[in-house]
């Protein structure tokens, strides 16, 4: 508990967490103050004005309502992919690191292979074969499928270093099974580490989603921050100087990812005493 209080003393953690809550508030509460529906069509490509605070896109849809929706889907994909990749990666990583033997060899082999094969390639190949029916959930699953190996690798290295500790041997002598030892003796030690892995996985999930949406392989029926950028690119918003069509979305993505990274580094500083001044 004390360590979490230490976390609250770290200024970079406070910056990160407040940026994160600000974006959450924007996604959740902003529509209560700003009543413009996504379905109402205005004048296409209106610059920001009193009616549309951030202008409209090429179809005349209000940008702020689009951004709110896009932010929601991006957060959904990011968290879902992050949770899945972290759970699968942690379980397999702990299992491999603790068990050793051929199970370890197989899991290490798979993770080593998939760390080298670029994620971008696998994402493009899978998404391209699913032209129809790419929902947000499916995209999150695809991203998790390509990224769990990172968490497995990281967690495996940590748990295999824990294996030879005395309290594990003691638990063994007391007749505890592997599952019980993993749950009660290993996972608690790894918790802060796993949480940091989860933060990074979620941040990279948000980036991956916007990457595949940018190249036109995004969700087919919803708006995400990536599809907003894709539409802006396809409709020449860049060369027309229609900054409101893409700058807010890029800033939003950057702010969320920045918040996650700052939280991660500040946690590293608190949990890893070596990095303290």
């Amino acid at each position: 508990m004390k360590i979490f209080l230490n976390l609250l003393k770290s200024p970079s953690f406070l910056i990160g967490i407040s940026l994160f809550f600000l974006t959450i508030c924007f996604a959740v509460f902003f529509p209560f103050f700003y009543h413009i529906d996504v379905r109402t069509m205005g004048v296409p490509m209106t610059p920001p004005c009193r009616e549309h605070w951030l202008g409209t896109n090429h179809l005349g849809i209000d940008m702020i309502s689009l951004l709110v929706r896009g932010l929601r889907s991006s957060l959904y994909v990011g968290f879902l992919a992050g949770i899945m990749a972290t759970i699968v990666g942690t379980l397999l990583g702990v299992y491999a690191g603790f068990k050793g033997g051929w199970q370890d060899e197989v899991i290490t082999l798979i993770t080593n292979i998939f760390v080298v094969i670029p994620q971008f390639v696998v994402l493009v190949l899978i998404s391209a074969s699913m032209k129809e029916g790419r929902s947000l959930t499916l995209i999150a699953i695809i991203i998790a499928f390509t990224s769990w190996t990172w968490s497995a690798r990281a967690v495996r290295a940590q748990s295999s270093s824990l294996k030879s500790r005395d309290h594990i041997a003691l638990a063994r002598v007391n007749g505890n099974g592997t599952l019980k030892i993993v749950l009660y003796q290993i996972l608690p030690y790894l918790l802060s580490y796993v949480f940091m892995v989860f933060i990074i996985q979620t941040a990279s999930g948000i980036i991956s989603e916007s990457c595949i949406s940018m190249i036109g392989l995004g969700p087919y029926d919803t708006v995400s921050l990536g599809t907003i950028l894709n539409e802006a690119m396809r409709n020449e918003a860049l060369s027309d100087g229609a900054w409101w069509a893409f700058v807010p979305a890029t800033v939003l993505i950057s702010v969320i990812v920045f918040a996650f990274y700052v939280i991660n580094t500040s946690m590293e500083g608190v949990f890893n005493p070596r990095l303290r001044k």
């Binding site: 080593n112 292979i113 760390v115 080298v116 094969i117 670029p118 994620q119 971008f120 390639v121 696998v122 493009v124 190949l125 899978i126 391209a128 074969s129 699913m130 032209k131 129809e132 029916g133 941040a203 980036i207 916007s210 990457c211 940018m214 190249i215 036109g216 392989l217 950028l229 690119m233 860049l238 060369s239 100087g241 900054w243 893409f246 700058v247 890029t250 800033v251 993505i253 950057s254 990812v257 920045f258 996650f260 990274y261 700052v262 580094t265 590293e268 070596r274 990095l275 001044k277």
Partner: protein, 354 residues
């Protein structure tokens, strides 16, 4: 056999490793696009079935033959079943065919610019991509490491300014930064050209004017990759060096009064190795990000080829590009691994690294 040559043994085991990874990558490259409900093979086969118009029929059949999707009889006609649908070749036979063709350097024919070969399209795009990405990654690695080590060593005001900047650069997605750069320096204050690899009015040639135009168009995409990469590398090096600073040998060296630059050099050398491993691990992500940056700048490289292939459902071109990207990432990784083999004293001493 190589008991006395740890470096040779290291290179051989790594080589075997990468060959295995290569096999997996080729298999993935073939089977993944065929898994989905709207996979290209089904679409082409469905198109070729039950066509009455003779001209279309011939065109579709030529596709089937060329991609080896349907069984062909001895005289070269596509076999058809009772419902007039072409008889499909088994996936394994297609896979064998694909491997055989790829080994011959034939990646098939593009759909969108038929009858242009995929290899032809890739050949014109590759030099652009290499010229953009290789210097960006190498320079960023060097500059990032030097800056990161300095920030860790000096701390103080330099670190206070530098670290948030590097963290910011590291957490802005490639494409976001690229788009902002295009808008700010290409459109709002048009200092640099916003899109393309050279002036649209020029024909690619070995003239001075063309070269100048290429360099002028090069600056913006290069900067957008370089800055982001540098930030990422610097952060890694900074925390590596902070760790090294706490070790006994640095304290001892400082206590002995060895000059600052010499201590910095020792520290740098020790922190380099993990950084090199880090580079190997992040190469795939870097190249993926750089490809998307190419798309934003409409830079005539592989990234643009992938983008237009995706937009036009040009599956042979998609597969050709992904295969090429994977193989280049594997080769780059292998090179870094070999370098580590020569630099790592543990490999030299023959204890081996895991």
């Amino acid at each position: 056999m190589f008991r006395n040559h740890p470096t040779a043994r290291y290179i051989l085991t790594r080589g075997g490793w990468y060959f295995l990874t290569f096999l997996v990558a080729v298999t993935i490259n073939f089977f993944l696009p065929r898994l989905g409900p709207s996979n290209p093979v089904d679409i082409i086969l469905a198109k070729a079935g039950g066509v009455s118009d003779n001209a279309t029929r011939q065109k579709e059949e030529s596709y089937l033959k060329e991609f080896g999707l349907a069984e062909v009889d001895k005289s070269g006609n596509v076999l058809r079943d009772a419902k007039d649908a072409p008889v499909r070749t088994s996936a394994w036979k297609q896979f064998g065919n694909y491997i055989f063709m790829s080994l011959k350097g034939d990646l098939g024919t593009s759909f969108m610019s038929y009858p242009k070969k995929v290899t032809e399209i890739i050949k014109t795009a590759v030099p652009w991509t290499i010229a953009l990405q290789l210097p960006a990654i190498l320079l960023a690695w060097i500059v990032g490491n030097v800056l990161g080590a300095l920030a860790a060593y000096r701390r103080g005001i330099f670190d206070k300014v530098f670290f948030p900047l590097a963290l910011g650069a590291n957490s802005i997605p490639f494409f976001a930064f690229g788009m902002l750069l295009v808008y700010l320096l290409g459109i709002l204050w048009p200092i640099f050209p916003a899109v393309g690899g050279y002036d649209g009015g020029l024909n690619p040639s070995f003239s001075l004017i063309f070269f100048g135009s290429v360099m002028y168009h090069y600056i913006l995409p290069f900067m957008s990759l370089f800055i982001i990469f540098t930030g990422g590398q610097a952060i890694g090096m900074r925390s590596m060096c902070i760790y090294e600073l706490g070790t006994d040998y640095v304290k001892y060296a400082k206590w002995l009064g060895i000059s600052e630059s010499k201590v910095l050099f020792y520290m740098f050398r020790n922190a380099m190795l993990p950084q090199l491993t880090g580079l190997a691990l992040s190469l795939g992500v870097m190249i993926g990000g750089a490809l998307i940056t190419e798309m934003i700048f409409s830079y005539p490289g592989i990234g643009m080829a992938v983008l237009s292939a995706i937009q036009n459902n040009d599956y042979p071109l998609i597969q050709g590009c992904t295969l090429l990207i994977t193989v280049s990432v594997l080769i780059a990784n292998f090179t870094v691994d070999i370098l580590i083999g020569f630099l790592d004293p543990r490999v030299k001493a023959g204890r081996g690294v895991k």
